[in-house]
Each structure stands twice: as structure tokens, then as C-alpha cells.
Symmetry: C2
Subunit: 137 residues, 2 copies
DNA sequence: CTGCGTGCAAAATGTTTGCAATGTG
DNA sequence: CACATTGCAAACATTTTGCACGCAG
């Protein structure tokens, strides 16, 4: 694991007043290196190889804490499963209707401006695209 | 209940080769008159007042069938709960970070065009906005 | 009449909670 | 050393499944 990633994760945790534990490390590292938007259970399985004693509850607690601290984002696109994403740069999502993969689309790949006529105060937005991904096309 | 809505629902069901049952009627009617994006359980509770013998399984079966037939859309925005929406006109969603309500935003209220640089074949897209709704602002 | 759709109960899945034990700061 | 965090198990919530019965076409 890259040392700078390690330091960066430590700093992020400290900044938010979260204690640095091996489990949180493992979860953040997994998410940082994996852009597949895993579910809590998938994280649990991945982590479990390193930490056979890790529990599901810890994964759920941890991702909730990390999400509240703003270190990761939650995602719930089509099925009723909550997924987690450590990609905090502005981006959108593309869901392939064939392979069901959820792919990141960088913010700058969506061009044009949106102007709201909605009578609400829009603070952020995300575009969810659906179709066929490059491989399935 | 408006008679034209009744006929419209019957026709939609027939078109898709679905049998016309009182339960399907009740579910579609509920969704058509209710823009709150209810969950399966909320539908179940609403339906149950009319049909005390209706079962949860029927609600789940029915919404799955209706969604597959394209009569309703499924929605899974932030929490891990699947919601259903009979609004088939082009529209987007606004989630209030205070009252947590999910509000429809008509398609024409989102102005501007989006151009994809993504290497995928985009067939449809939806914009999810977040912020404070009019009442909570 | 034929089979899809329903109701029921039980199982599978996904998530939360309570509490004692542990490890971080 | 204090307290947040962990692990475990059990509770809880949500969704799916199997099967017998009933109703729509």
C-alpha cells in the first residue's frame, strides 16, 4: 500500500475526530482502491481476508461513521442495496442495463449547465445515466 | 375515484397482458393519486384499509410485475428502501436534506442540455437534486 | 377450464442494537 | 486511564419463496 495513501487516510480520520483503527484503515483503503461501489457486505468480505475476526456490525458502524464525517458517500441506485464510494471528486454515475455495473463518469464529462426552475434551494445534484456501457454495447 | 382513471388503468393492464385484479387496481390507483413515492410497505398499509386480507407478498409481486411491464418506475434514492412512482412523465427528483421528502421536479424545470463525454451509450438519465425544499428553506 | 395471481407462512437477505471486551489517544 | 470502537449474538426490517386455493379470461 502506498505510504502517502496511508498518511492521507490517517490525516483525514484525525481531522474529523475519528480514532485511527486498523478496521477503518482497511475499509477506507479498500474503497480508495476499488471503484466498484461495493455494498457493506462486499466490504465485509474483502476486509475479512485481512481481519478474519472483523464483524459485519463493525463494517456497518464504520461506513456510517465515515459517511457522516464526509469521508465517503453513500449511493443507492437501482436495487435496494446501499453502496459506498470514496470518490469525493465531482462525478456522476452510469448504470449499464446489461451488466448492471455502476461506472463513474467524471463531472467534466457531463457538459452543459442546468438551470433550476424548481422552487427549492438546490445545493448539489447528481446525474444518473442508464444505457449500455462500452463493453456491453 | 374518477371513472377515466379506472378505465385508463384497465387498459394499461390489458395492453401489457396483465390480469385485472382488484389488488393491482388498488395499487395503481394509490400510486396514481399519491406522489409521495411510497415504499412497498407503505403501499401495503394503504391498500390494507380497503383489502384487509391483502398480503405483503402480493404487494411485492405486484409492484415487481408492474415495474417490469413499465407501468411504474422504481426509485432508490438515499436510504436503502425501494420506492415506487407512477409518474411516467419525464421528471427528476429533489430530496430535502431536512424533511427528507422526495419531490418531483418536472423535466422542463431542468433547463439546459447535457452532452456526454462518457464512453457509454446513454439511453436515459435522471437528475437527483439535494438541498432544502421550499417549506424547509 | 386453465393457469395466473393471491394469501399465508416461512426463509433469505440486509441492517441495527445491546453489551462486554478491547485498543486508541 | 477514559472512552470510543470492536466483536458477537440476537433483534429487527425488508424482500423473496413455496405451495394450496381462488378468480380472471
Amino acid at each position: 500500500m502506498a505510504k502517502h495513501l496511508r498518511l492521507q487516510i490517517e490525516e483525514q480520520l484525525r481531522e474529523r475526530g475519528l480514532k485511527i483503527t486498523p478496521q477503518r484503515f482497511a475499509i477506507l483503503e479498500h474503497l480508495a482502491q476499488n471503484h466498484e461501489h461495493p455494498t457493506a457486505d462486499e466490504i465485509f468480505n474483502a476486509i475479512n481476508r485481512q481481519f478474519p475476526r472483523a464483524s459485519r456490525a463493525t463494517v456497518y458502524n464504520t461506513v456510517a461513521a465515515l459517511a457522516e464525517a464526509g469521508l465517503i458517500e453513500t449511493l443507492c441506485l437501482d436495487d435496494g442495496v446501499i453502496r459506498y464510494d470514496a470518490n469525493l471528486t465531482a462525478h456522476h454515475h452510469f448504470i449499464c442495463r446489461r451488466c448492471r455495473k455502476i461506472l463513474d463518469v467524471p463531472g467534466h464529462a457531463v457538459r452543459g449547465k442546468l438551470a433550476w426552475r424548481a422552487p427549492h434551494q438546490v445545493e448539489s445534484y447528481e446525474v444518473v445515466m442508464r444505457g449500455l456501457c462500452r463493453k456491453c454495447r
